[in-house]
Amino acid sequence: MSDDNELYIAGRLIQWALRPHARPTAESEYRELLDRYLEQLQFRDAVRAIASGLGLQVIDANLLGVVLVPTEDSIFAAKSSDYRPAANAEERLIDGLIQVAIIATIYPRAHDLEEDSAIARPPITVEDVEETLRNICDRLEDASRGLPDTVANDRATGLYEAWRVYREKASAKTTDNARVSPATTRRAIERSLEFLQQQGCFTHSSHGSREEYRPTWRYQVMIQEWSATHIYNIVRSQLDSSSI
């Protein structure tokens, strides 16, 4: 087989890996290319080199598929403005907190991240994520009781704690047409989970009135092998730079 063809099929495998809903069991070409990747070292190197050039990293590959993650500053990296383009700073903050809370709800303990990513984690609901966020808010609110209120100037310039932003947003709101109000935290969580579902990170199922979202293998691998540590490092470095 020529080198050109080798590079071509390496590109094809990357393309399959980028499709959020593609499964090797359902796509014969994907399955064949994946077998080749797992068996031939030379092909594996070619795939990794092309992915690296594109700003992607292969973090896992097995019979369930290939998991690619964008490296820093990659064109494939999602931005918060991609998720909700018209959002203001406060909404972006809440969306970001919700994304982290979703991960923390799936992995509430440090050693959960150590478990085999092929074992499906239990499904979560909008209420679970809301509870995760509100519990922390309540705890921080309790801790702040008795302390002085925020200084007016700090409030105007955003120099007040992030939990207050979330706490001040309504959780429920009556609407004229009995729909869920878009201006509530529950709707924001629902929107985030729906978006993750579209991205192939979650599957959705209904059990009566209970709407459940279950993380996919691809999402579990991404969080356990890549994201959790990176997110933690970002928080640490932000805390360090704030304390200087």
């Binding site: 980028l18 993650v69 999602a78 907190l97 955003g158 120099l159 192939g200």
Partner: protein, 517 residues
């Protein structure tokens, strides 16, 4: 001079001529940069009292609004309606069918009718509903998107006067266990109405017990029974919280902060239990007294017995909890010894709740925003960038229309909603944000200052554009059907901020400027 007689003339710092000595009446104040030793004049309990008093501000704001209402509504007293509404919610809290928006509006109708009669105006149900909704919206702070009320006050810290912001919520909507949305008073509002200055104004259990006492005093025994159940539930929640800490300690010591957090929780819980035991005893005494005045075997007597039993259960729950609290430290010491050789998770794996989410919540808003911008790409899959393809675009445009096959697709009945024929460029949310700024103008303000405020609050580009366009529209008063603002060009001053430039016009709130005139 007594503390309360000392007048702070300015929010800046002052010092007497002779340094630290207390000022005599003859002394003149000299302005220096040195802080005044406010410990002598300003005690922390004054800040506490000030905060409690300020909780009434959203209610008093209703009174001020009455003066600016349209003529057909100006004879209604918003404050009376608001108090009735709050009282009604207290009466129904914890019942199976609590008050929702519609019930709240309907409950105010008789009062509105009475106000019409007294003003010699013919009653009108639509007008009544309109007014009732206004009161409800004002209590929920609909004007500010149902955020809490923000009240600025002056506090003193280490000799410096500081402006602080008190955040107050009166009413909030919550999900009832049956799935409907109901109205509930915040803890602050409940305590404000029923206990005012006596208790910790944000204490949930104190709020519930205040409700029971109030309902007992009014002879609303059914309601008091439901509230007593709620009080028991809250006691159980506190017990569960302590149990959870102890279970987590037994499972994995490293998951529980025994250095700072848990000792504080234990101390606070002990204090809470002691104060609750006193209140519970007084509720039981009140219920017994009421019971003795009733004829034997009556239904009310049976209900009072149930209340006494529930409150005694609460008390029992607190006694058990007290024992757990006393023994908690021993549990910690035992587990510390037992788990000292347990297998630890990999050190580089973070605990996402306590190492990531909680620090993010504790960060300043601007720092958290910065961190979350960097975190966001790690929360989502690799996103394929959209590249425009002329070939694909043309072929999509030219492809024949697909034949509809209605038999293969289930037809979902769509809900029809009112929508104008024009497609709006700006989102309704951006409009509301912009209107919030325009409505909030209390003093005449330059356009550049308003714009800068919006930019500092990180408003979206759309919101900034709507503010500018609204000001432009208001410049010609005939261009706007219901003008909000007066826009005046008072001089030739120009501004240029974030790509916007032009005359730096003066904006003033229509209502305020009318009032001034």
């Amino acid at each position: 001079m007594m503390t309360s007689e000392y007048q702070i003339r300015n929010t800046e710092s002052f010092q007497t001529k002779d340094g630290s000595s207390l000022p005599s009446d003859d002394n003149k104040w000299v302005h220096t940069d040195e802080p005044v030793p406010t410990g002598n004049y300003w005690d922390r309990h004054l800040t506490h009292q000030l905060r409690v008093l300020l909780h009434t501000e959203p209610l008093l704001r209703l009174l001020r609004r009455d003066e600016h209402r349209s003529p057909e509504l100006e004879h209604y007293s918003s404050l009376s309606l608001a108090l009735k509404l709050l009282d009604l919610i207290i009466e129904n809290t914890g019942l199976e069918r609590e008050i929702d928006n519609d019930k709240a509006v309907n409950a105010l109708l008789p009062l509105l009718e009475a106000m019409d009669h007294s003003a010699g105006i013919d009653p009108n149900i639509e007008r009544h509903k309109q007014m009732a909704r206004r009161v409800l919206e004002a209590l929920c702070n609909d004007e500010k998107g149902r955020r809490p009320f923000e009240i600025t006050y002056t506090d003193f810290d280490q000799g410096h006067a500081l402006e602080r912001v008190l955040v107050v919520r009166l009413l909030e909507e919550r999900y009832h266990i049956n799935g409907s949305i109901i109205l509930r008073l915040s803890n602050e509002a409940t305590n404000l109405l029923l206990h005012a200055l006596m208790f910790d104004i944000e204490d949930a259990q104190a709020a519930t017990e205040a409700i029971i006492q109030s309902q007992l005093a009014r002879g609303r025994i059914h309601e008091a029974l439901s509230s007593a159940r709620l009080a028991l539930l809250q006691s159980q929640i506190l017990r569960d919280k302590i149990e959870r800490i102890l279970i987590n300690t037994q499972r994995d010591l490293s998951r529980v902060d025994w250095k700072n957090e848990v000792p504080c929780i234990l101390t606070e819980s002990l204090e809470h239990i002691q104060s609750r035991c006193t209140v519970e005893a007084s509720i039981v005494t009140a219920a017994w007294e009421r019971r003795e005045a009733l004829p034997p075997g009556s239904n009310e007597m049976r209900l009072l017995a149930a209340i006494i039993s529930l409150v005694e259960d609460c008390s029992q729950c607190h006694t058990e909890l007290h024992q757990r609290l006393i023994g908690a430290r021993q549990v910690f010491l035992n587990e510390q010894e037992r788990q000292s050789f347990a297998l630890r998770p990999r050190a580089d794996l973070p605990h996402l709740l306590s190492d990531v989410l909680e620090p993010l919540f504790q960060m300043k808003r601007v720092d958290a925003q910065k961190a979350l911008e960097a975190i966001f790409p790690y929360c989502l899959n690799a996103q394929t960038p959209h590249a425009f393809s002329l070939t694909q675009y043309i072929s999509r445009q030219l492809q024949p229309r697909r034949e509809p096959r209605p038999e293969t697709v289930p037809i979902v009945q769509r809900e029809q909603i009112d929508e104008g024929s024009e497609k709006l460029h700006y989102t309704a949310e951006a409009y509301n944000r912009a209107l919030t700024y325009l409505r909030a103008l209390e003093e005449p303000t330059r356009l550049a200052d308003l714009l800068q405020l919006a930019i500092d609050t990180h408003e979206s580009q759309q919101t900034l554009e709507i503010i500018i366009l609204s000001v432009l529209r208001h410049f010609d008063p005939h261009d706007v059907s219901v003008p909000l603002l007066d826009v005046e060009k008072i001089d030739e001053e120009q501004f240029s901020i974030e790509g916007f430039s032009g005359n730096n016009v003066l904006l003033s709130n229509k209502e305020t400027s009318n009032e001034r005139r």
